[in-house]
Subunit: 324 residues, 2 copies
């Protein structure tokens, strides 16, 4: 086995830079190259290569981490790269995962590669928690709460409105609901009962605040089903307090075992920077993909198919000694 | 594949009965037999068989769940049963896991069986969390807190003291320390800073309370390194409030990613009944062991070697659709 696992990054936005930092923190991983459609515009610690030239790197990369967008890039890039490289991605359009899996699986099998799709924290770590907890507690109720954190999709939706110069949207679990769930209640919840949506908007000079607020609060699919609050702030306040990308949330399962005893399990994440944490998850899973591929595994897989010991830099013997 | 996975239980104490209840809650598992050294004394929903006759059941049991004590039963039973059956156990003497693993591995390989050791919640689910979190966040600090919950070992140690009729010991995380850790501090902690030990003692009539309290608080290995509180109570109060077996705790990891952002992950359990929850974990892992053995895997393994998707009654396709 090589001393270092050679990682390639495709797409150099926030997530790609998060992966780069995670690789730098991992002694057994090295960044071999960054692939991008705009090679002249970016700087990295590794060689920056036009994405069309990736074929030249088939013998120089062990695992390619795909950091493009789930809507715009991965539907095409996922299968394309899976035919040529082992890959890891964070495809996060939950409803389209089965179809995406099939396409990546066919491509990866064709190339003799292993491709992990939908890694990260949700899907990813939260998927692990949902499956683990509900397998242990049959008939239990599982909830996923997100936040407090920045939702990129919702922020973009607000930014597109006329009269909006800049905006950010925070998703926040409803505190009273969280308290009920942690106390062991298992209600059916509407979206409104589960999350609040809080927007900070920098308006264009002279924009109609009431019109903006109404447009946000009535936006179907994004805000209409939620309790939404809109705050108008200055550009200075935005720059000072709202440029970070914190996120997090939790998966919580409450069930009863045979004697009627209530049992509760929870996985909680509190992240100061979402893309850096997601990048760290992808880097650890790249290590696992490399090892499983060396053992002969090919095709597409999800985090549910990967033993957690494969994520660790330590050997199984060391893990049993120190971590079990 | 059979419609039901046939489970055997070896040892019918609290844990064995917890496994029985978990199997009853799982439509794809059925309890084939309970094996015990005292067959005349117990009643179960399944046939009760003297443990010496287990050899007759080699074709009638898919996975044997070993529910004996880690100190007294498993060191002998683990390798013995691994030679004849697929097994799952909850061997929890952390320091002896490597040696136990080797012995079970040799026996399981010899019999062509698969044996999962050290399952349950700690070791078990907490081992998964320690490995997962520290693999994602290299250089991070991971803490394990237990409680509030009943420690059987500490309760037994108190009960053995002269003048003690009945006793229970609760392990409780130190609230101020928990608060510091959740806020993101990463101190080095002594045992005293991490957990309190609270004892409820029913004294024999005329017993010397001061002598009992001193004997508890100075007991090396169990109490001397902790802040310990001793409450003397009546037999009635004990029966009313202290016969349950609640437990729980959490694994929490705080680390920084490349940009200096603090990232925190936590797995938390809150259990009204420890043996029933542990039994439920073992039952889910029995499902995984059955499947992996059918795929040809043999020898000893730990929870770190098992993909979490194998725990679920659902197929991989269903899981990708509903849970990822």
């Amino acid at each position: 086995m090589r001393k270092s696992i050679r990682i390639g990054i495709v797409g150099y936005g926030n997530l790609g830079r998060g992966v780069e930092k995670a690789v730098a923190q991992s002694p057994d991983l090295e960044l071999a190259a960054v692939f991008t459609r705009r090679p002249g515009q970016i700087q990295s610690s590794a060689p920056v290569v036009p994405v069309e030239e990736c074929g030249d790197y088939r013998d120089k990369i062990d695992v390619m981490i795909l950091c493009g967008s789930s809507s715009n890039d991965l539907p095409e890039q996922g299968p394309l790269f899976a035919g040529q490289f082992n890959t890891v991605d964070s495809f996060d359009l939950h409803a389209r995962i089965p179809e995406y899996f099939e396409r990546v699986d066919a491509a990866a099998e064709g190339g003799g590669n292993l491709s992990l799709i939908s890694s990260g924290w949700d899907p990813g770590l939260f998927s692990l928690a949902r499956v683990l907890f509900s397998s242990i507690l049959p008939g239990a109720k599982t909830y996923t709460f997100w936040g407090k954190g920045v939702s990129q999709g919702h922020s973009v939706a607000v930014r597109r409105l006329p009269g909006v110069r800049q905006a950010v949207q925070y998703t926040v679990p409803v505190p009273e609901t969280v308290e009920r769930i942690r106390q062991g209640e298992t209600p059916d919840l509407t979206p409104r009962e589960q999350h609040l949506r809080i927007c900070y908007v920098v308006p264009e000079p002279g924009a109609d605040h009431t019109a903006i607020e109404t447009a946000i609060k009535t936006m179907p699919g994004y805000f209409a089903d939620y309790e939404t609050t809109v705050h108008f702030i200055t550009e200075e306040e935005f720059a000072a307090n709202h440029t970070g990308m914190p996120h997090g949330g939790f998966v919580i399962t409450t069930g009863s075992t045979g004697g009627g005893y209530r049992q509760q399990a929870e996985l909680r994440l509190k992240l100061e920077d979402n893309p850096e944490f997601t990048g760290s998850v992808l880097a650890a899973y790249a290590r696992a993909v490399y090892r499983l591929h060396r053992e002969g595994k090919t095709g597409a897989c999800t985090v549910l198919d990967i033993p957690l010991g494969y994520l660790a830099p330590e050997s199984p013997v060391e893990l049993r000694k120190k971590m079990v």
